[in-house]
């Protein structure tokens, strides 16, 4: 049976903390702003940032909508308390309803869910501006590979400390960093409609799919080799279909190159040169 290679979680946490220190220094900004969903990814991002730059430089926002569960808000408050973060609650229910009505998106739960994710992005970047703060991303490698995110919504951030970390390892990070047990134990959810879970939508949970993704994406095994290694054909086909179908999200936009100096093609430059 395929397994995901383990990682030294303590070293991973320390390395990511150094990353967050350096990104903040290089940006010249005052701190981080993180949206706390009540889930494990945002809890881990927040914990890493608090350990890296100090909780006084990390602000948190909870951004509930009309369909968000009360449990999510309670868990967000528990995370803020656990890591000493100042938490603001900005209720997006009313603006979401108005915008959904204006756009005609209310009846389609996927459209409404994507709109909510993008409204949260708007709130985070707006509140980051006066600090000024970097928006701390919470996307993980598993969901990025599967494309299980909203483009320019929850996938939008200034930095992504967990973007190369498997979800399986994020659970381990959460335990190491002291994320409350109730948050580590509950099923991952985007919380965009009542009863939604990642596993319910994807058809598999992360500990099951992570080894398949690892051995395909990093290990180079093809579909038949994955099945021959003991993974179910249905799991492999489903995971690889998402891996291919949503790959456009890995690079959110593409520029038409018509010169010999196309940005990020012919001219790849450091983001933070000396000012």
């Amino acid at each position: 049976m395929l397994e995901l290679p383990p990682v030294n979680v303590q070293l991973l946490a320390r390395a990511l903390e150094v990353f967050l220190v350096e990104e903040l220094r290089a940006s010249g900004l005052a701190g981080y702003l993180v949206g706390l969903s009540g889930g494990v990814d945002s809890a881990v991002s927040a914990a890493l940032a608090a350990a890296a730059v100090g909780p006084e430089k990390v602000r948190a926002l909870a951004l509930p909508g009309a369909t968000s569960s009360l449990e999510s808000l309670r868990d967000a408050q528990a995370v803020a308390k656990a890591f000493g973060l100042a938490l603001d609650v900005v209720d997006l229910a009313s603006p979401a309803e108005i915008l959904a009505e204006t756009l005609g998106a209310r009846a389609d739960r996927v459209r409404f869910g994507n709109m909510m994710a993008r409204l949260r992005m708007v709130a985070l970047f707006d509140r980051a501006r006066p600090v000024p703060a970097l928006v701390l991303g919470t996307s993980n490698k598993s969901e990025i590979l599967l494309g299980y995110s909203t483009l320019f919504g929850d996938a939008a951030a200034s930095v992504q400390p967990l973007g190369d970390v498997w979800k399986t390892h994020i659970f381990a990070l959460a335990r190491t960093l002291g994320v409350p047990d109730s948050i580590v134990a509950k099923p991952p959810t985007a919380d965009l409609w009542p009863g939604q879970t990642d596993a319910g939508e994807l058809g598999f949970d992360y500990p099951t799919v992570d080894p398949v993704l690892y051995w395909h994406h990093e290990g180079g095994l093809g579909r038949d080799e994955l099945v021959a290694s003991g993974s179910s054909p249905a799991l492999v086909d489903s995971a690889l279909a998402a891996y291919r179908r949503n790959r456009f999200k890995w690079r959110p936009t593409v520029v038409a190159r018509v010169s010999a100096s196309c940005i990020n093609v012919d001219r790849i430059l450091p983001r933070n040169p000396e000012r």
Binding site: P6, L11, E22, E23, L269, R271, N272, P273
Partner: protein
Amino acid sequence: MGKSAPQQGDLVVALAQIATCPGQLRRNLDRHLEMVAKALEAGAHLVVFPELSVSGYLLAHGVLEHALRLDDPLLSPLLDASRRAAILVGLPLREAHGGISNAAVLLEGGEIRGVHRKLYLPTYGMFDEGRYFIPGPRLEPITCSLGRFGVLICEDAWHLSSSAILSRADLDAFIVISGGPSELDLGGEPASGRRWHWILGAVAITTVTPVFFTNRCGWEEGVLFGGASWAVDPRGATIAGPAPALEESLLVARLSRAAAARARTLTPIPCAERLELWSTATERRDA
């Protein structure tokens, strides 16, 4: 290249493991001067910085903007500092006839003593050096008043022929500088430190020559570098380090030249290297 005779006695080398910032040359230069000051307090004769230490490693096309000539005024403070200790730095070197080299430059006594241009430019995986640099044309030691050194830049050392060839040049030591990225696995340190340990240990033991290795640490553009700077004697014993993977640090390594010479006398492995086997193999392959 300097012609002065090597000094006798112990050689004290400071390995300045710094976290450089791409495109922030003045900041990087300040870090150099701070480390040189600390190294002088520790009695260092030579201070070694990582690959592309002046410019940062992940410059990409930024090398066009940040490449330096050897007479660039930016290097003046380093040249001044080199009157008190020799300094080896890494920088993108703008060549007179075009092209940019990934270079290691040895400064001493307010002058440039020698330059090594990276021979092997990794262009695979996350590396794209062949896109931005031209490869060095030759492999030869650099000499200053402290001795004769085989200077290698990162990937150069992964080709063991580099150390085998240089070991015929009566070296006092190898100096390997690196901007080595790393991934993390189950180990207690970044995985690159383990690889460097084996490579540098093999270089030291098979050439019976001490190795001083300075890697960079920290992050650039989302890429983690593995630190673990290290000094190892001709028989594979640690002289200093390895430095912590994630932190800037200054390691001070004291090498006994007498002990190194004794090791070469008792274990003359490089003297027996049959380079004609290499040339025969090369001729056969090319036939």
